[in-house]
Symmetry: C2
Subunit: 104 residues, 2 copies
DNA sequence: TTGACATGCAACCAAATGGTTGCATATTAG
DNA sequence: CTAATATGCAACCATTTGGTTGCATGTCAA
């Protein structure tokens, strides 16, 4: 879970996920074309995404296909974000009340 | 949005959000008691959470109350995570169709 | 008023991060 | 076979990050 959050923290990595979301199974070089950095930098980002289980790879000859795995994102949405959403309305009205009390 | 993702990347900060979720409006010292670091370190984390608009503060005399703001988390859930969840179901049904076609 | 308490600010430090370059390896095409 | 292509590995570097210590400021209570 921590690995997923840290993987999502970087905009470049989110852009890579976006790219895979648009076209799944892209090769490393294909992903590099859309990114403004060296291939090796992209490789590092992909390794972090893989470690967070957000990307799965399949070796195909000398190429490596990258597939998006949305399960960890789904888990975060359900197990972590859901908790805060449930408390959302209550917290907002609570904050509003306190602010109004501050300024009579 | 980027600030929110980066703020959520650190486990200490997520723990602070948890703490505020359990008891909203806590003071800095109160938040420090649950954290295993100096007050100044907690201050820095809270500043990052504030900059991401995840935490709002109200000065109350010599104390400062911290309130959780779940709106940015909600926005991420709706605008960003939702996209991948939609793709997930599509991918699943796609996989299901392929499997069914594979095995007639 | 004075001392204790809550927070703020700044300098400093080690480690992690994000990127580069250079070279190695493996596979496919001609 | 050989050359081009696709990826892997490692060393190196600058900046950011997460933490510390030390001191300053502001507020409440006795």
């Amino acid at each position: 879970m921590d690995a997923v959050f840290r993987a999502l923290a970087d905009p470049t990595r989110r852009q890579l996920l976006d790219s895979l979301h648009a076209r799944n199974g892209q090769t490393l070089n294909a992903l590099c074309e859309r990114a403004d950095m060296t291939r090796q930098a992209v490789t590092k980002h992909l390794a972090i995404l893989e470690e967070a289980n957000l990307v799965t790879t399949v070796r195909n000859g000398r190429e490596k296909e990258h597939y998006l795995n949305p399960v960890p994102i789904n888990e975060i949405a359900e197990r972590w974000i859901g908790k805060f959403e449930r408390g959302r309305l209550a917290a907002l009205s609570d904050l509003k009340q306190r602010l109004e009390r501050e300024e009579p």
